[in-house]
């Protein structure tokens, strides 16, 4: 089932469009990696998918137009993990993860048993149960990233949009987080994740979407999208390609200047 369908999505801010005529679809079970140079429009695209900014073209969530969905309903279907890891107040990790249950709770109601179960599962999946009572602002960068991921997981939404969730994480935690996303795909959910690490993208995503200057440059299986020609065109880099039992290895090694 198509969870997210973009049809000619365009976002204008000034003379040049930031996202230009992008169309693709994400189905249940897919982990789609959104890659491209800085300023390619990845974050803008995600925000447009949520309706956070005005856009032209069509966005459909589970087949229904975005505009038709009430905010609360949309929040039950799409979870968003923004790039800015803002936590305004030093509430406990547990309380912060519980914020993900907002779309499922009635105003003024206490946490139900289902809510608490979802929070527990999310804490375990993100491996942050150990510090559930610590103030969320007193965590290291990696811990904070995982706690915020737990919040998004607690939403139990079929579609997750994650904007650079592995930025700043050490290799172990980065691998853990990508594996968590893989599990979501295996459970039948769908994930759109933007990232810069090409090897992680190649090994953990079922499909890649490559943006450059707002336009969709390439789409498809990782091996196809991460070909030397595409890398040169999109990033202006040459790379070392290899593979092991688990998947491809792509390491950028040099700059190609036109």
């Amino acid at each position: 089932m198509s969870l997210l369908a973009l049809d000619r999505l365009t976002v204008r801010r000034g003379p040049c469009p930031v996202v230009d005529d992008v169309s693709f679809t994400i189905r249940a079970g897919e982990v789609v990696g959104l890659i491209g140079p800085n300023g390619a429009g990845k974050t803008t695209l995600m925000r447009a998918c949520l309706g956070l900014i005005p856009a032209e073209g069509r966005v459909a969530i589970t087949g229904r137009p975005l505009a038709e969905l009430a905010p609360a309903e949309r929040a039950r279907i799409v979870a968003y993990l923004p790039q800015e890891r803002e936590i305004a107040w030093p509430i406990t990790v547990e309380a912060l993860v519980a914020l993900g249950r907002h779309p499922h709770r009635r105003p003024g109601a206490r946490l139900s048993a289902a809510d608490r179960a979802a929070v527990e599962t999310a804490l375990e999946m993100a491996e942050v149960s150990a510090f559930r009572t610590r103030p969320a602002t007193e965590l290291s960068g990696g811990e904070r990233a995982r706690v915020l991921m737990a919040r998004a997981l607690a939403q139990e939404a079929p579609l997750l949009l994650a904007d650079e969730p592995v930025a700043g994480l050490d290799p172990a935690h980065a691998l853990d987080l990508m594996e968590t996303l893989g599990h979501l795909g295996a459970e039948g959910k769908a994930v759109l994740v933007s990232l810069h690490d090409l090897t992680l993208a190649a090994r953990h995503c079922t499909r890649l979407v490559l943006l450059r200057a707002g336009r969709l440059l390439a789409e498809g299986p990782p091996e196809a999208v991460l070909s030397p020609a595409t890398l040169a065109a999109a990033y202006g880099v040459s790379a070392f390609h290899a593979a092991d039992a688990r998947g491809p290895i792509v390491v950028p090694t040099g700059r190609i200047r036109p």
């Binding site: 949520l50 309903e73 305004a88 509430i91 914020l99």
Partner: protein, 330 residues
């Protein structure tokens, strides 16, 4: 979590005790038992008049305005995600004060008893409209703060101008003393005027509980959780304008309550923005009632102004905050 469950009942008890103190203490110097009897049964007509027409409205205003200030401070700090925010930041207090000062200057305050509070309320709402207009529909927290500072500065400058141009030194000193804030000699008329706005404003602000919790994650994440931020902004600004504007209209400019009380109570409620709201309301009521009692006990013949007392408490509070922050960061 058990100690946290005691917070609201405890604050409620303190507020009640201070309300009683505000009722029973005053320049008349009558013993508590007689005052209470006079209030309830009406015997001893002079004392009953004092209790029913002077003390009771004054205590109610202290309770209501204090609660409004505390709640608005907590709501704004939660909405703007800034622990230094306070009701005056959005220009509401300064504009309300300007409205009142204009009522003095034009002489309307002398002609119509309700002219002053009504013009103050008008100022508060005008400021809110101006802030929203300046910040724009899509303006985030920073834009709002900037717009609020601009409107505050403008209102402050115009108030100074009115003071400068006042026709006689008496009018100038009248305005100045009014601006310092006081609940002396307020009557049921003031309660009737400010009460509905304070209650309505506080009602709007209490609806923000869920929104403020979600805003802990930032505006984008909150919107992704289904929070309609347009409605959040309307509640925050509208509620503040009504509740705080009415308070200033009746009692003058009383600062620091909306800043200090949420700060003090935030650790007690686990830093949760939603749990802070009712706690800050009770805390603000207690703070203002205590200040009003102190104003009557410390130097009754000198007529200490409420705003002076709250500022005298608030400034050392800030010094302490700077000190502990320094030690923590060092």
């Amino acid at each position: 979590m058990t100690p946290q469950r005691l917070v609201l009942p405890l604050l409620g008890a303190v507020t009640l005790a201070l309300f009683a103190a505000s009722l029973l203490l005053g320049p008349a110097g009558a013993p508590a038992g007689r005052s209470l009897a006079a209030l309830l049964t009406g015997d001893n007509p002079a004392l009953a008049l004092v209790m029913r027409e002077i003390r009771l409205p004054r205590a109610l205003l202290g309770l209501g305005i204090g609660a409004a200030l505390g709640l608005a401070g907590a709501a704004l700090q939660g909405y703007l995600r800034n622990p230094l925010a306070e009701p005056g930041l959005l220009g509401v207090s300064a504009a309300a004060a300007l409205g009142a000062v204009l009522a003095f200057y034009t002489g309307l305050a002398a002609l119509l008893p309700l002219a002053l509070p009504l013009m103050a309320l008008g100022g508060a709402f005008a400021a809110t409209l101006l802030v929203v207009g300046l910040a724009g529909v899509a303006g985030g927290a920073l834009t709002l703060i900037l717009a609020g500072v601009a409107v505050s500065s403008l209102a402050g400058a115009l108030t100074s101008l009115v003071l400068n141009l006042s026709p006689n030194p008496f009018a100038a000193s009248e305005i100045m003393f009014w601006l310092l804030g006081s609940l002396a000699d307020r009557s049921w008329m003031h309660v009737a005027l400010a009460g509905p706005f304070i209650l309505a404003g506080m009602g709007l602000l209490l609806l923000l509980a869920r929104d403020l919790e979600a805003l802990t994650l930032g505006e984008d994440a909150a919107r992704s959780l289904g929070i309609p931020l347009g409605r959040t902004r309307a509640l925050a600004l509208g509620g503040t304008a009504a509740a705080v504007g009415a308070g200033v209209a009746v009692a003058g400019a009383i600062g620091f309550v909306g800043l200090v009380v949420p700060h003090l109570l935030r650790p007690v409620v686990g830093h949760s923005p939603s749990r802070l709201l009712p706690a800050a309301a009770l805390g603000g009521a207690s703070f203002l009632l205590a200040a009003d009692v102190a104003a009557r006990l410390i130097a009754p013949e000198r007529d200490l102004k409420l705003g002076v007392l709250t500022a005298l408490v608030g400034a050392p509070f800030f010094l302490r905050l700077v000190w502990t922050t320094r030690r923590r960061l060092a």
